[in-house]
Structures are given as C-alpha cells and as structure tokens.
C-alpha cells in the first residue's frame, strides 16, 4: 500500500478539496478561499494545482459539477460531493489520522 510521494501529495490535496466541499457546494475560487482561511493563510492553492484536481476528482466521480448563477448574477461552475465522494473522504480521513498519529509518535519519541 506504499504510495509514491507525488501520489501522497496529490491524495492529500484531493482530501482537502473534498473537505472543503463537505459543507456545501462551492465554485473553484470559493474552495481556494475556504482552504486559505482555514489554514490561516498557510495553504494557498493556485499554481495550476486546483483545477486539475477538480477535473480529476470529477473524472473519478467523487464530485459532480453544474453551472449556476452566483449572488452577483455571474455564471460559475459549482462542485459538490457525490455519495461515493463522501464515502471516499471518510476512508481517506481515517487513514490520514492513523498515519499522522504514527508519524507524530515516532518524531516525539525520546531515546530510551
């Protein structure tokens, strides 16, 4: 089950996006804003990472998209989680928790 480093990062990003969409459907810009806020401005998505991720997730049918009109009467594409996406997210989340706990344990261990 060992993943490539690139995959790890990609998987992490996917997880963040799915989390951002967990509450409510959102468009691309909104997702970056949300993640930026929650991470206290540490994670700034851009760099051509977000949209490829969104399209990839859509291809894997974890999210779906539709065009809607915003409050300002502008057209935007809104993404939302599918049921498959929710299930996938909770799987990934529990795995992430287990992994990060294990890593923390190792890093905090003192010599015995």
């Amino acid at each position: 089950m060992a993943k490539e480093k690139g995959d790890l990062l990609q998987g992490t990003l996917d997880m963040l996006v799915l989390k951002a969409l967990q509450l409510e459907p959102m468009h691309g810009w909104g997702i970056t804003e949300r993640i930026e806020q929650w991470s206290e401005s540490v994670l700034q998505l851009g760099q051509g990472t977000l949209y490829p991720a969104l399209y990839r997730l859509e291809r894997q049918a974890l999210i779906r998209s539709e065009w809607k009109v915003t409050e300002n009467n502008r057209r935007a594409r809104y993404y939302s989680l599918t049921r498959e996406g929710r299930r996938h997210f909770s799987d990934e989340l529990s795995q992430w928790r287990r992994m990060s706990r294990a890593i923390n344990l190792v890093l905090e261990a003192t010599a015995e």
């Binding site: 810009w29 490829p52 065009w67």
Partner: protein, 878 residues
C-alpha cells in the same frame, strides 16, 4: 470497475470537448475576477489588483495544459492542434511558404528525376538472367579500335575459351513482311543460336528456339517471331507454328514465338533495335577478313573478369601465331567488358555530370530553405518569447515548430514528387538518341523514399535549429533590445555567409551550362561539308537475290531515279548510301597505290550517284563529279575530300591512283575530283577523312535524297507508288528530312545542354530568392537604424543605394568564390565540350556578370521598401 467509468468519461469528454474548453476558460476568468474584486475591496488600485490576481493564480498556459490533459487523450489531440496551428502559421506567411516549398520541390524534383535516370540506365542490371556476367568482347586490330570480330574468330573463340560460354553474335537487319497485299518493314535480327538463351528468351512461348543447323538451309529459312508480331499479324493464333510468312519476298516457316516483353539492349554497332520482331538463324563462316560482328558471351559461374581477360590475352596470342597474314605486326587485342559497362560507356560522363549538377541544385535548395527558415524564425522571436513568458514549455514550442517544419516538408516533398514525374516525362519527350535503355527509365521506389527522407531531414534540421536557439535564450519578457541586437547580428552574419555560399554554388552549374551552350553552338556551326536543309530522304530496300549483280542493281536504281524525276512536286532526285551522320557508316582503308597494307589509313566511304554532290552543296575544289557514263562503263574512279588529297598528294591529286581496301580485297581507283572536308561519322570527329565512290564500286542499297515541295506524306506515297511499279516487294522506310540525321547526331549534347541550363537557371533563381530573403530580414532588423539615418537627412536614393550595395557585395563575394570552384569542377566535363576550353574566359566573366545583375534585381525590392520607411514609425518601433 472504475476504469470503465473513467474510459466512458473520457469518451464522453471527447464529444463535449469544446464545451469543456470554453467552460474551463470561463471558470478561470471567474476565478481571477473574484480575486481581483477581493483585492479591490482590500484597497489595491485596479491595475495592481488584477496583476496580483494573475500572479496568484499562476501560470495560465501550463495550467490549461495539465487540466486539459486530464480530460482528453493528450498526445494525439495536441498534435492535431499543432498541425492546424502549423498550417495556419504557414498560411499567414504566404511568401515564405511559397518560396520554401518551391525550393524544396525544385531540389527534390530535380534530384529524383536525375537519380531515376541514372539508376535506370547506369546502375540497374540489365533484364537478363545473370546479367552481371554477360560480357562483350571487343577486338582491336590493325590500328582500329573496336573493329568488331570476323566470323572465323568467333568460331575459334567458341572452341578455345574455357571460361566464357554462350559466345555468340547478333546483327540487326530489316525484314520486309508482306501481309494482305501490304509490305511493312519490321526490325529484325540475325543471331546465332546462343543469343536467345543468353537474353533469357528461352523457354519460348510456342514452338522452339532457333537452331541454325536445321533452320538456315538452302531450301528455305525458318524463323522465330516476337509475341507482338504474332498478335499483330496472326491474331495470337496458337496454330501458328509451321505456318509460312513472307519476308523479303521469300516464304519462311515459323518455328517459334517468343514470350512477351523481350527487350534487346545492345550497343548501337550491332544495329539491333530494342524490339525485334523476326529472328533469323545465323551460320558462322570461316572468314577472317570481313569484320564488324559484336561478340557476346557470359562468364561461367565463379569466373572473374580478370581471369577471363587473362584467358583471352592468351587466345589472342594463339590467333596471331596461327594466322600471321590476318594480323600484320601481331596487332590483335581482345578485351572482355561487362555488357552494361560497354553499353553505357559513352553516356556515363554526361550522366555523371548531370548527377553532379543536380547535387548542386539540391545543396543550394537546402541552404535556401535554411536561410528562409532562419529569417522567419528570427522574425518570430518576440512572439515566441511572449509565449514562453505565458508559460508555454520549451518542449511545447519545439514541438510546434517541429510540426510546422513537417508540414512544410510534406508540402515540398509532394510538390517535388510531382515535379519529378514531369521531369521524367520531359526526358521521354526530349528523347536523346544516345541514351540507352530509355524505355526502362521509371521512378524508383528507393528514389521516392530518398526524396521524402531528404525533404524531411532538410526542413526539420533547419526548422529546429533556430528554434532550439530560442528555447535557450531565456523567457523573460524583458528581452532587452541590446541582447536582441547582439543575437541579431550573429544571425545576420550567418545568413550572409549562407547567401555567399548559395551564390558561389549557383555559379558552378551556370558556368557549366554556358560551356555546354557554346559547345552546342559550335557544333551546329561546325563545317560538315554539306548542306542538308530542305532535303528529304527515304531508304529504298531491294533484294540481292532479285538483283544479283551490280549492273542489275544499277539499272533498277537508274530507272527509279528517272521515274521519280517526272513526278510533279519532286524537283531533283539523287541518291547515296550511307547518309552522312547516319548511325551506321562504312569505313575503308585507303592509301597510295604503292603503299602496303600497314601504311593504310581509315576513311569513311559513301556510295553516290551523279548529282548528289551538287544537291547537297558539297563543294568540288578540283576535278569533276561522277557521270552516268562512268557508272555505265564501270570506270574505276573515286572522289576524295581535301584531307586525303593534301595528305597523300600535296602536289595535286587529280589523276593519281588511290588504293582502297575492303576486307582483303584491294582496288585501285583513279582520283577524278577533290571536295571540301566532309564529316560523316560525327560532327565532333574532324579527323576521319571522307571519300566518294560511284555506284558500281560498292553497289549497295541506296537512300534517296530529294528536293521536293511535297509534304512528307505525299512524298512518301509518291515514292511507294513508283517503287511498287518497279516491283521490289520491299517497303520504303525512314522517310525523314536529311537535317534530322544532323540534329540527331548532336541530340545528346543538346540534351545535356538543356538540362544544365535548366539546373543553372534554377540554382540562380534560388540564390536570388535567398538574397532577397536575407536583405528583407536585414532591413526589418535595422528599421530603427534606417529611420534614424533618414531622420538625420539621408536621402531615399542614398538608403536604396546602401541596401543594393550590400546585396551586390554579397553577390560579388559569392561569385568570386564560385569562380574558383568552377575552375576546378569544369575540368570534369572537358570530354563533353567542343572547341571550348573549360577555362573559357568569356563564359566565366559572363556568368559572374549575370549573377551580379540578378543580385541587383533581387536587392532592389528590399531597397525600395527600406526607402519607404517612415522615420517616425521606425524610431518608435522596437
């Protein structure tokens, strides 16, 4: 199972592609707009807000790339798009595309044509089994090279050689075939039994092959006919074996029909046509006096040429020992040569020269394409830099330029193949008489692949080279003008060098063409000694069975001439054989009466009737023409040309006695007239002198020479009618103007000349285009400088002069370099020139002047454009 879903998704996305594309664009725009609004609310100025939003968003181009990569099969789509982009880019630069593809087309078309010809004629093996082992054996004896063999020698060679088998001979003859009351002349050949197997004609289609022992009898002759004649005359009747056919007024039995498609490619001295319709069996005699037979043979398996040559050297020595009188002073040499080499010997230098010339054209073409591409890609420098700044990867740009080059190569290559087809058609139309195997010339698969490969290689190499340079020059939009100036100067120097190279290369074929042109003009003006204009000729054939002796033959011809003179429309009739400059000439050894055999020299001989000399305007310097009385009383007289007269009898030739040798037979004739020098074998040969004998001395078939106002059809039927009345049962043939023989004899020179002129013209045109492109680019780079100068008061004329001077300077440098190269190269075509030195000053100077003039013209339009630059616009442009 998710891969099913994925694939389905991808397939669907192919359809909704466009929707997705525009969707993505809109999404991105929305994103950036939102960020901009946020920045505005945070207090940034409008421009700064947008700028920050763009930067924060990141590199647009590669984002779009990678996003798109997610929803479609990337490579094929990208390539299709690059293809369309490439085609569009080429359309937007029509002159460049036109010139570049025309250049490629020219270079490729010319090379493919010449290469096809050379390959078909010189390199491809003859279409016979074991063709590389088929040889001819030439005989040099008694001071004559390639004199041909005597039949006795052939029999002995057959008996004595262990290393060469199928030793045989063949000689082309005419067969007058009667069918349904009409007589047609078809090409035929008399051949020994081995010839047909040697040429791969056995096994035959019907019946059997020749067997001279049973087929050539006193009672009647049996022949083998060709497939084509069989179908034409007998309708393909399978029961044709054993049937009779009337040839030359005799009934002959058909014993065999050949398979379709036999082509006889032998040397012209055999007189054998390519397509032989009737094959007569030949029995060899023991004579060692009459020569002229071509010896064919085939090396036995495992035998090398040098081994065979060694054997024949030994056999030659044995011949000389056994027959000392036949070979005075032991002069006999037998040379073994592969048939293909012997066949193409004469034409090899010309074809090699053409191959060289076309190589130059191709080289110049490639240089030109490089030049044009360089100019173009330099002009696109800013565009490429902007694309790089927007995030297009170096790989992407390279790929796009690569595909553009491919499109250009395909265009040029396709046009080139078309040009090659036309070229081969042109070769067929020009029909140079000396070119053997013309019917075998075709475009080769190998050549086509070669051409396509060359086209791709050229355009890709020269298209990518500049591109690679750009990838490395960094991607900051702030490409300072300084840096661009420096790289521009480097590019200019390189381009200038390319132009000089082009001009130099184009001078060489120009000089060669000029030399050939002068040779051709010299040939047409060469003093042949007679005037063939406005004279018609026709060959009359008679049976030597029907007219057994010279007297009866003379009676026939005399009556024919008298009858013809009475035909309305025919003004003057005379006859001779052979006609001057016709392919087969008669040569005799001549000398003073007191000279012995070893002291005799060679001359060409013509049998004439009275009136021939006057009609052909052959000037009699001394003495008189023959008279009817001479022939009636069979007086032994002869007319010689001035070369013989001045050589043998400088004190005066009239009344002197000339020895003439035909085979072993010596005759003594009295000289009654001396004419101007007459060239009968070839215009180039000014050394072999000529003599005329009256009909009874050598009573052969004659060709009519007629001055007539009738057109060739009426003339031809008038003759046929008259001949039919006299009942020869033979056809009248080769009805053609006498001048045809003259022009045919220089047709090979004419062919080479036209082709070289064509190539030289093409090369010059290409060089001019290259010069034009370079100057145009130079001007576009120096627009500011020109603007400054004009603002500072330089006049229009001054600017134009400056540009033109630059162009002319490049051309002059190139011309000088080229002249040096020409001095070296033109030595190789020395053998083809006629009365012109390879270092001919007039031609060299003329070529250089022509090039400079062309350069001036090519430079004038860029100069004109430079002059019209508005100084204000120029100063503001960057």
């Amino acid at each position: 199972m998710s891969w099913i879903r994925e694939t389905w998704w991808r397939i669907r996305s192919l359809n909704r592609q466009r929707a997705m594309e525009s969707g993505l664009d809109e999404e991105i725009r929305f994103h950036i707009d939102q960020q901009t609004e946020k920045n505005l609310r945070a207090g940034m100025g409008p421009e700064a807000a947008r700028h920050e939003a763009l930067i924060k968003f990141g590199r647009l181009e590669s984002l779009k790339e990678s996003t798109r990569d997610e929803f479609r099969p990337a490579f094929l789509e990208d390539s299709m798009r690059d293809l369309r982009c490439g085609a569009r880019a080429l359309r937007r630069a029509p002159w460049f595309t036109l010139f570049a593809s025309l250049t490629l087309a020219l270079g490729i078309g010319a090379s493919v044509t010449v290469f096809s010809v050379v390959r078909s004629v010189l390199w491809r093996p003859l279409p016979y089994p074991d063709a590389e082992r088929i040889v001819v054996i030439t005989v040099d004896t008694r001071g004559v090279q390639d004199a041909g063999a005597a039949e006795g020698e052939l029999l002995d060679l057959r008996a004595q050689s262990r290393l060469v088998d199928h030793i045989s001979t063949i000689f082309g003859v005419d067969a007058h075939v009667s069918a349904e009351g009409e007589v047609h002349r078809v090409p035929a050949a008399s051949a020994t039994d081995d010839v047909l197997p040697l040429l791969g004609a056995t096994p035959v289609a019907l019946g059997r092959t020749l067997d001279a022992a049973q087929d050539n009898t006193a009672g009647g002759m049996r022949v083998v006919i060709s497939d084509e004649l069989w179908r034409r005359q007998f309708g393909g009747d399978p029961a044709v074996i054993g049937r009779r056919i009337q040839i030359n007024n005799l009934q002959m039995e058909i014993v065999g029909v050949l398979r379709r498609g036999l082509r006889v490619f032998l040397r012209p001295s055999t007189n054998a046509a390519e397509q032989i319709d009737v094959w007569f069996p030949m029995i060899l005699g023991q004579s060692r006096s009459y020569r002229g037979s071509e010896i064919l043979g085939r090396l036995k398996p495992g035998v090398t040429l040098s081994q065979a040559q060694a054997e024949f050297n030994a056999i030659a020595a044995r011949f000389v020992a056994a027959h000392p009188s036949a070979y005075p002073e032991g002069a006999l040499r037998l040379t073994v040569m592969p048939l293909l080499e012997a066949l193409t010997q004469d034409v090899r230098p010309a074809l090699t020269a053409l191959l060289g010339a076309v190589g130059f054209v191709l080289l110049i073409g490639c240089v030109n394409v490089a030049n044009l591409m360089l100019a173009r890609n330099n002009a696109r420098g800013p565009e490429l830099a902007v694309r790089r700044a927007l995030g297009a990867s170096g790989l992407r740009i390279t790929r796009q330029l690569f595909i553009e080059s491919i499109v250009l190569a395909v265009l040029g290559g396709a046009a080139g193949l078309l040009a090659a087809y036309l070229g081969l058609y042109l070769v067929d139309w020009l029909r140079p008489t000396e070119l053997p195997r013309q019917s075998e010339i075709s475009m080769d698969r190998t050549v086509v692949i070669f051409a396509i490969g060359l086209s791709l290689l050229t355009s890709v190499a020269f298209g990518l080279l500049p591109a690679l340079r750009h990838i490395r020059t960094g991607h900051s939009l702030a490409l300072t003008s300084v840096r661009s100036q420096i790289s521009a100067i480097g590019a200019r120097r390189f381009q200038g060098a390319l132009v000089i190279a082009e001009v130099a290369l184009s001078i060489i074929p120009l000089v060669a063409a000029g030399l050939m042109l002068r040779s051709f003009v010299n040939l047409t003006n060469a003093p042949v000694g007679f005037d063939s204009s406005d004279l018609q000729t026709a060959r009359i054939s008679i049976s030597f069975h029907q007219y057994r002796d010279a007297a009866s033959r003379w009676r026939f011809h005399r009556e024919l001439l008298e009858r013809l003179t009475k035909v309305p429309g025919i003004d003057v009739v005379t006859a001779a054989n052979p006609l001057p400059l016709a392919p087969l000439q008669v040569t005799r050894r001549y000398g003073r009466e007191t000279d012995d055999n070893a002291a005799l020299s060679l001359a060409t001989q013509q049998t004439i009737v009275p009136g021939y000399l006057r009609l052909t305007q052959t000037r009699l310097r001394e003495g008189r023409d023959f008279t009817l009385h001479d022939i009636d009383t069979e007086r032994p007289v002869v007319i010689v040309d001035e070369r013989i007269a001045s050589r043998l009898w400088p004190e005066g030739a009239i009344g002197k006695r000339l020895t003439l040798m035909a085979g072993e037979r010596r005759r003594v004739l009295e000289v009654v007239g001396v004419t101007n020098a007459v060239r009968s074998t070839s215009i180039r040969d000014g050394n072999t002198p000529h003599l005329f004998v009256p009909y009874h001395v050598y009573a052969t078939e004659l060709s009519l020479v007629v001055k007539t106002s009738l057109n060739s059809e009426s003339f031809s039927s008038a003759i046929e009618r008259t001949v039919a009345v006299l009942g020869t049962g033979r056809a009248v043939f080769n009805v053609r103007p006498m001048s045809n023989y003259v022009s045919d004899s220089i047709s090979d020179t004419r062919f080479t000349m036209f082709v070289l002129i064509g190539f030289a013209g093409a090369a010059l045109l290409l060089a001019a285009v290259g010069l034009y492109a370079t100057l145009a680019y130079v001007i576009s780079q120096r627009t500011r400088e020109i603007g400054v100068r004009m603002a500072l008061g330089a006049s229009v004329g001054h600017m134009m002069g400056m540009i033109i001077r630059e162009g002319v300077a490049l051309a002059v440098l190139g011309a000088l370099a080229g002249l040096v190269g020409a001095l070296v190269v033109t030595r190789t075509i020395r053998s083809m020139l006629y009365e012109v030195s390879p270092l001919d000053g007039a031609t060299l100077v003329g070529a250089a002047v022509l090039v400079v003039i062309v350069a001036t013209v090519a430079a004038s339009r860029p100069a004109w454009r430079a002059a019209r630059i508005d100084p204000n616009m120029a100063l503001r442009s960057e």
